[in-house]
Symmetry: C2
């Protein structure tokens, strides 16, 4: 069976049971679904939109192979007519969304699908799966970018990302949010993200001693000599660098940087910087890694530790302090009638919506309203796809990255400083409140 990324069976069973029922009753009218985050995690003051490119690709490639159809037939849950209808199924709907890199807040639609009910329902789980993860990671990475101004940040997280695809998409989402590169080769091959990487401790250990390991590496990688110096004793290794540098210089090889990976990184950096400077190696840069997050980056910045770049792994790739968002993909309208659920603590705003953002130097407030109720400010949701076709070539990652950087510049000050309170104001327009009341009056008549 096809790998999971483009396999439409990567869905919840209920999508198929609902679709069977929609077919039985001829419920094929237009539905509007929106993807949004109900509440921000308490450790987040803003979120960043990401994953739209993959969401659009998923919709464009949506189709069932014979193998998948025959599994659906064989499982015994569905009618022949239904499986036949899936053979012809394509996504022919509309997509409106916030551009990737846009900062967003609770209850704001990030993506809207307008399509016949069955197909709009089928794509629910995988769309959430794509958007949730990249929004989660871009939002976490953006905080790190804000905490380490002017520093090179590199994604080192593949190994502890949640399986293959998460590692790959974390490289993309973090680069979008302002990281400078990744260690994940496939992400470099796929999106031209700058690649970084040198050696593991195992490289040092495989040699008889550290000196030998450093020399071998430098001679194999004359243009990219970055040496890991914490395998045994960080400062003794820094001293070795001083004695090796002239040997290598005679061979025309310059040591570019050293990497610290354990202990108090700021403290080691001060000591190592002094050792290097005393040895005349002012140009050798210091790179640090080891379970870093935005708070440690902020602390290192506050201490003015002489670290030039950081490798950031697990805590970014898993968004470890908030590894999920309370997000949803909800039916807002069907057959022209606005809808909302009113389950306890989970009520949603009905109808097709737009978000207007007002600036006052920085972001000042957002207005959430019904689509078509034009307000002052910048409308954040834009058209991307009509009748299953992209309206324009999708922007490249560099362009999205510039947009993200411009968004971070316009954040309110306290959100730039990692604070999540007070919450950014998102006002609900009178028109939207009125619509919700109408829907509730209808519900009351059941």
């Amino acid at each position: 069976m096809r790998p999971s990324v483009h396999n439409p069976l990567l869905a919840d069973l209920y999508q198929f049971t609902m679709m069977q029922s929609y077919l039985d009753r001829g419920m094929n009218d237009t539905a509007v679904f929106e993807f949004f985050v109900r509440r921000l995690p308490r450790q987040r003051g803003f979120l960043m939109a990401a994953g739209l490119e993959q969401a659009l690709a998923f919709l464009q490639q949506l189709r069932f192979t014979d193998e998948e159809l025959s599994w659906l037939t064989g499982c015994g849950r569905f009618s022949r007519d239904f499986v036949d209808s899936l053979a012809r199924l394509r996504f022919v709907g509309d997509v409106d969304a916030m551009p990737e890199g846009t900062v967003f807040y609770a209850n704001e639609p990030v993506l809207r699908i307008t399509a016949p009910l069955p197909v709009a329902q089928l794509v629910e789980t995988r769309l959430i799966n794509i958007l949730h993860f990249q929004c989660l990671i871009a939002s976490k990475a953006a905080r790190m970018v804000l905490a380490a101004p002017g520093k090179l940040l590199v994604d080192f997280g593949l190994r502890r990302a949640h399986e293959a695809q998460a590692g790959l998409m974390a490289a993309r989402a973090s680069y979008l949010a302002g990281f400078g590169g990744t260690a994940t080769v496939l992400a470099g091959a796929r999106w031209d993200i700058p690649l970084y990487g040198t050696m593991a401790h195992s490289y040092i250990l495989a040699h008889d001693n550290e000196n030998e390991a450093f020399l071998h590496f430098a001679r194999s990688h004359r243009d990219n000599v970055v040496l890991l110096i914490d395998t045994y004793d960080t400062e003794r290794a820094a001293a070795r660098i001083i004695s090796l540098a002239p040997v290598l210089a005679r061979e025309g090889i310059r040591i570019q940087s050293v990497r610290l990976d354990s202990g108090d990184l700021a403290e080691h950096a001060f000591k190592v910087r002094r050792i290097l400077d005393d040895g005349g190696l002012h140009d050798v840069r210091i790179f640090a890694s080891g379970n870093l997050d935005e708070y440690q980056l902020q602390d290192i910045a506050a201490r003015e530790a002489p670290i030039d770049g950081f490798g950031i792994g697990t805590r970014m790739d898993t968004s470890s302090d908030a590894p999920c968002l309370d997000c949803a993909y909800k039916l807002q309208e069907y057959a022209g009638v606005p809808r909302r659920k009113i389950s306890e603590g989970k009520a949603t705003w009905p109808g097709s919506k737009q978000v207007y953002r007002r600036y006052n130097g920085t972001m000042h407030e957002d207005i959430l309203t019904v689509d078509g109720d034009v307000q002052d400010g910048e409308p954040l949701i834009r058209p991307y796809m009509r009748d299953g076709k992209l309206l324009a070539p999708y922007p490249d990652l560099a362009e999205l990255r510039s947009h993200a950087a411009a968004q971070l510049v316009r954040l309110p000050d306290h959100l730039r400083h990692l604070k999540s309170r007070p919450a950014y104001p998102v006002r609900v327009s009178p028109a939207l409140r009125q619509l919700a009341r109408q829907v509730d009056q209808h519900i009351a008549t059941f």
Copy 2:
């Protein structure tokens, strides 16, 4: 380029830079690497091994396509000889590991690779990526299984799992650990995991009212009528069920269960149970979902709420209270010489190791020792692959699941009750301590 799961470029750049250097120096002797967890998250008293099947498949399928090789050539970092050597590269080493479903603790090797240094190094990141995630999820899911004895637990987490592959593997790992099924269709298609699923709130909302939605669904799915009753008002919906049941019964349709998805699940369950019982629907079961974790399951069990099964999503699929493990894949031996790093707080036990488990009714203590130092107790690490070939057909998931269930039965009592302290005793043998001292004496001579 190939999808990520089997693409060997899904690796850190440093793996390739190290390999280039190993080739330059002819460093092709046998290396021993072990995968282990340094420390358990404070919320975990034990972990469960998982992911070995995928790890073995990755090793068996390891090879570079022309496209991948030409990318490596074109990136300008590597020599022609090196890229040529990759074209011939296969995994021809040995694998020893704990069977999937085995309970394990800190510092115990879960998997050992014995292979020529370059290939053993190449597979580092993806092996960690595979094993880390499934161990993480199986360990979390096992806690939920322990907290809800006798209840049906179903994985609902695909949407908020970290991208596609994580959702799929979470379905596998949770089933291994004792879940009864999943909502993820592809996981059912791939591993024959029982599938569960009915309807979303959008299904209810797409109809003019709840009655109509319930009737339509029941008529489309006569053999599997599970109705979601919290879209508007849970108890009013339960009352509707009472009036619909005789209508459906006349058509030969029986309502199997209702699902609660919001509010205080236990409280609603008591009320709904009474409504159903008063209406004579004693056989209709109650299924609940909504951000559940093992503590809520334990609370619901303690309150003896009449809930028959649970859908468990985000908190299991992201292991949200501990979304990563402090795990590593470390060089233990190269060219017959044991190795270890002694970085601050990250020192490792050197050499090729074995774990012996002693029982006293339940698990009593583990002994970590050098491989070959036979001890009393059950050796946990077993041979799976020699010279790149599997020694036996890999067991099916049902068999692994039985092993996992038997392991949970033998947990010490306090670990069965979700407590993580006192830590389970893992003793380091005199032979292993002696080996570490020898390695350190060698390091001191550098």
